[in-house]
């Protein structure tokens, strides 16, 4: 039976992140660094929103509902898990993707390009040499993020081959859920608005160089 699994904010977050990671990659490869920085700022806003939504969002978006210990992962692999939202194994993938995206954003904030023309808003807070090293890490670590994205897509294809469709639920928000599983408890629309407002405010503060530390 099809029932709500992912709320609208979570789905918008997911597909916006997909688009922005692709755009960030393209803009970096083509030396469109001004656009690359703005794309990074947008990803920062998204991640901040997702972090907040992980505490105040609907039940399947909350970290408490999907961050579980290794025993649950083992149970899941043995086929002894039933539930709604991220599976224990899928949750690891979610955390890894969010974490890798966060590392890319944070290193980007402190990076400056080698031509000295474009920089993240916080690059000035650290020494030039340290900023150069972080910029290198920013470039190298993208490969890790890319590998995680590929693994994520490969897993979805694997599940599809075994008869489980996952993409549809991330588009429509509804997916197959066993009847005896507790349904998704939706988040409040005004909570989503507050989370967006806070995420935008924090991003703007960082763009301004994080005063008073940045002045």
């Amino acid at each position: 039976m099809k029932r709500p699994v992912w709320d609208l904010p979570t789905r918008l977050f997911h597909w916006s992140l997909v688009a922005l990671i692709a755009f960030s990659w393209w803009s970096a490869e083509n030396d469109e660094l001004d656009m690359h920085v703005w794309s990074g700022m947008a990803v920062l806003t998204l991640l901040l929103f997702r972090l907040l939504w992980g505490f105040f969002g609907s039940s399947t978006a909350r970290f408490t509902s999907f961050v579980r210990g290794p025993r649950m992962v083992v149970d899941y692999l043995r086929g002894a898990w039933k539930g709604i939202g991220h599976s224990p194994l899928g949750a690891l993938s979610v955390l890894a993707l969010l974490g890798a995206s966060a590392i890319e954003v944070v290193t980007g904030l402190f990076s400056m390009d080698e031509d000295g023309l474009v920089s993240g808003p916080l690059a000035r807070l650290i020494s030039m040499d340290f900023s150069d090293e972080i910029a290198e890490l920013h470039e190298e670590f993208f490969n890790v993020l890319l590998a995680l994205v590929l693994l994520h897509v490969a897993a979805i294809i694997y599940y599809r081959l075994r008869g489980k469709r996952l993409v549809g639920a991330m588009i429509t928000g509804r997916g197959e859920v066993e009847a005896d599983v507790q349904p998704m408890r939706p988040g409040k629309w005004w909570a989503a608005l507050i989370c967006v407002a806070v995420a935008v405010a924090v991003t703007r503060w960082i763009i301004a160089g994080a005063p008073p530390f940045g002045t």
């Binding site: 030396d31 400056m112 031509d115 000295g116 023309l117 920089s119 000035r124 030039m128």
Partner: protein, 178 residues
């Protein structure tokens, strides 16, 4: 009153007359230097040790340009930039960019050694020299602005200069420049 108008009109006519040939001359001059530079780029083909020496100097020079840009950008992004720092880096940029005219003789392309300089530089020399000259001109303008105290003007000239870097790099620099 009428006399005043006539004098003013006359003065305008004289100014205009002077302005005309003057600008034309400046135009011819820049065209002449540009074609001379193209001729130089093509005529002075280098090889062997000399080529490698120039490529090394070019690499170090461009790296130094980047370093100076970084120093300047960090200052200009600050709430109250240290203009002394900006000025000394601007002077170094002026010096480096003047030397850059000798950095791209034929025979210093990627077929000779590891370089970010694309072969297109020597295939479309006229365009390349134009872009190089645009950068050199922007550096001079930036250096002049840096000597003044108008931070907004300095920022504007720095942005112009960055645009000329990018215009050339987009077309003539490969990803091999690390």
């Amino acid at each position: 009153m009428r006399f005043g108008l006539i004098t003013a009109a006359g003065a305008c006519a004289i100014l205009a007359a002077c302005g005309g040939p003057e600008t034309k001359r400046a135009d011819n001059y820049s065209k002449a230097t540009k074609s001379a530079a193209v001729a130089m780029l093509a005529a002075t083909r280098v090889s062997g040790e000399q080529a490698h020496k120039i490529m090394h100097e070019r690499h170090e020079g461009m790296e130094s340009v980047g370093k100076n840009n970084k120093v300047i950008k960090r200052e200009l992004d600050a709430a109250s930039p240290n203009l002394g720092t900006v000025r000394s880096s601007a002077a170094q940029l002026a010096n480096l960019s003047a030397r850059a005219s000798g950095w791209f003789p034929a025979g210093t392309g990627p077929d000779i050694g590891k370089t970010g300089a694309k072969p297109e530089i020597w295939q479309d020399q006229k365009d390349f020299v134009g872009k190089l000259a645009a950068w050199q001109k922007a550096v001079r303008a930036f250096n002049v602005a840096a000597k003044g105290g108008d931070v907004n003007a300095i920022k504007a000239r720095f942005a112009d200069m960055g645009g000329t870097c990018k215009a050339c790099h987009d077309k003539y620099r490969s990803e091999m420049h690390h």
